[in-house]
Symmetry: C2
């Protein structure tokens, strides 16, 4: 059927017309449809059988513009086709971390998928002070597996190149290129900093040669390094979790880019959460140190967990398939040095990307609620300044910081856990 905007009243008849949904919903007699308002790009509905709430689904439809801005920012619905392709590929690699797709209607740009009704968006829960003890273990497993299995270390070279072509995703990449790497670092009408940050301090921030060069270098890496199928929007709002399970959603920014981008985004987001909890825990009448300590440990564990798992997958794969090249006395040690050198480069780049994330979430268009939703603008400004200072140092010193522990020392120096 040709493209038509699904309004709330049209969702149930649409689902009822799909044979594959019969498996999910026994009948469509008593279905509740609820539109959730927090999608930046799309319309998203929760659809639930009132008599059996386990029978439910999420319906997501793309509109040919950026929903949060309106028709003045056109964006083709091609993004949903790419998201479905990425979800299917990620699920093939990591079924335990990716929701199941029940139906994909290409013409209508509607995807119907597993409703993670027993899980919550991690960002909102973390703001409230909820810990997820297994979260980082799951995230690093997802990152290591998806990035390794779509890299040249694993894929057949022709298949890898075919996938690069299938996931070019210029429109969503442009959003990242502009909003993460460019606009926040210059005077740009898309920026919306906290009004309590003075014009002069913002101008000084934007006039920092080392910072500008570092951001431009990270942007070039993002635009040219076709290393692996990255999620592209890997932050706390893209994880749905409970105490046992974690799902990664919304890979519409997926494309073949630098692995370090996903890793760095995660680190940057945990650091922003760490900063914000100096405020939120105190507001809740708690001592913030334990929860903040957990968040900082999460940031650290993202790197160590990812690196260890990626290295293990790679070493095991080489042991089975790449032996000829390294089959000389000392070859196994040399191969291990090669892998360590590669991961070292990913590490430094991840710090740079984490720095970009901290700057763009503070100054740029699309904020994260951790800090930006703090109504007390003075309190928020203190955190904004920490985010900018840490972001700046991560970018400028990314190649000089020798380990994730060094990066944590830097963070603690600029934003003590007190």
């Amino acid at each position: 059927m040709p493209y038509e905007l699904l309004t709330e009243d049209k969702v149930v008849p649409y689902l009822a017309s799909l044979p594959e949904l019969g498996r999910i919903f026994g009948s469509f007699d008593d279905i509740e449809v609820r539109e959730i308002g927090d999608g930046n790009l799309n319309f998203v509905y929760f659809v639930t059988d009132r008599k059996d709430r386990a029978r439910s689904a999420v319906v997501k439809q793309a509109v040919p513009y950026v929903r949060v801005v309106g028709e003045s920012w056109p964006l083709t619905v091609e993004r949903t086709r790419l998201e479905v392709m990425a979800l299917r590929q990620e699920r093939a690699i990591c079924p335990q971390f990716v929701p199941e797709i029940y139906h994909w209607g290409e013409e209508m740009c509607v995807v119907v998928m597993q409703n993670l009704y027993q899980h919550k968006v991690v960002r909102g829960e973390i703001i409230k002070g909820v810990k997820f003890p297994r979260l980082v273990d799951h995230l690093t497993s997802f990152l290591a597996r998806t990035l390794f299995h779509t890299s040249d270390f694993y894929l057949d070279q022709a298949e890898k190149k075919r996938q690069v072509g299938a996931y070019l995703n210029p429109e969503l990449c442009k959003i990242t290129e502009d909003l993460v790497f460019t606009d926040p670092f210059e005077e740009n009408k898309t920026n919306s900093p906290n009004p309590r940050l003075g014009a002069e301090e913002l101008e000084r921030f934007r006039a920092d040669p080392a910072l500008k060069i570092a951001a431009a270098e990270m942007k070039h890496k993002f635009m040219t390094e076709a290393e692996a199928l990255i999620h592209g929007d890997f932050h706390l709002g893209s994880y749905m979790a409970n105490q046992e399970e974690t799902y990664i959603i919304d890979p519409e920014f997926a494309y073949f880019g630098p692995m370090a981008f996903d890793v760095g985004k995660t680190i940057g987001n945990f650091l922003l959460a760490y900063l914000s909890q100096a405020y939120h825990r105190r507001q809740a009448g708690e001592d913030p140190r334990a929860f903040r300590g957990w968040l900082l440990q999460c940031a650290e564990d993202v790197w160590t967990g990812f690196a260890a798992k990626f290295e293990a997958l790679w070493a095991e794969h080489m042991e089975r398939f790449d032996r000829v090249y390294w089959s000389f006395p000392g070859g196994a040690e040399a191969a291990a040095r090669w892998r360590a050198g590669f991961l070292d480069r990913v590490f430094h780049d991840a710090l740079g990307f984490a720095g970009c994330v901290m700057v763009r979430r503070t100054l740029g268009l699309a904020k994260v609620a951790d800090i930006a939703a703090i109504a007390d603008l003075e309190a928020r400004a203190a955190l904004d300044r920490q985010a900018l200072a840490i972001g700046r140092e991560l970018l400028v010193q990314r190649d000089r910081l020798e380990s994730i522990e060094d990066a944590v020392v830097l963070v603690l120096a600029l934003a003590p856990n007190a």
Copy 2:
């Protein structure tokens, strides 16, 4: 018309059937067709009007296998479509350095193009001791212009990504991935070293951990860095020149890869020529130093010329289009530092690629005549050893060599100009 192998007798009837060739050939009554035997992949014919030798063309047809090996190595004729696309794009950027295409018959995989009958393949001439005073100036202009104008520094981001997808070229890339970066560094049946190189010294060369790691790192860069449309086979055999003009031919390996690959291939080829001329000039009864000095200067000038021209194109473009981001006090200096930092990275990678070229042309399947055609295997072995030693040092020390002058000092230390 469907695919059919053009044998020598079918060339003229084929050309006579093409209206666009009427402009080149007045009549087809007295046409000479000569197949040249030196194509590795394709059949190539020179077609000339005996009454007016200025009326001529080159006819190139791909066969669905690697011609030099035979049907046992299949290769789709897709490569010629890509070659035509690259020739047209390069010619749009640099008309003075790229032959004109008269006809492209996609089904037949036949391209008919300008016959550079007043030019000769540079490698053969250089072996004979011929200098080309304008060659490096032309090569660096071609490199700077084609690489800059297909990079993210110049192209619209969506157009760049579209082109990345159009030039994926997995089959030809695989040849490079295997023959340049893998096989020569391991025990592999495709290798064919000079039999006077002892098994023990080859084994020692292949068991050098730092060398293996460096080659693996360069291979990963080649496979993942989609920086610009590279020619992909940029060596002395792909240049046709005379004392005034230079043309770049045969871009069938074109794809979006690291800029440093084309630059490094050129440097590596001039260094091989430099080594070989210690033999060839003496064989011709000459003092080799002046000609060798010119070749070494060519290698050096490839880098300095490319870097200066690329930087100038980039600076001029930024001055016109990228001002906002750098519009702060000291912004122009910061932008210049950014460009210098980028070119510094290209420089180090170019040395690494030059090192790979010197190793692969010495040990691997596809040789270059400069050294490999020397019948005196002992004399050749001395040069082979120099090529391996220099290739090794360029790979392993690529990030420590701070300038092209440092690289030249290294070359002279391992292979004095005597």
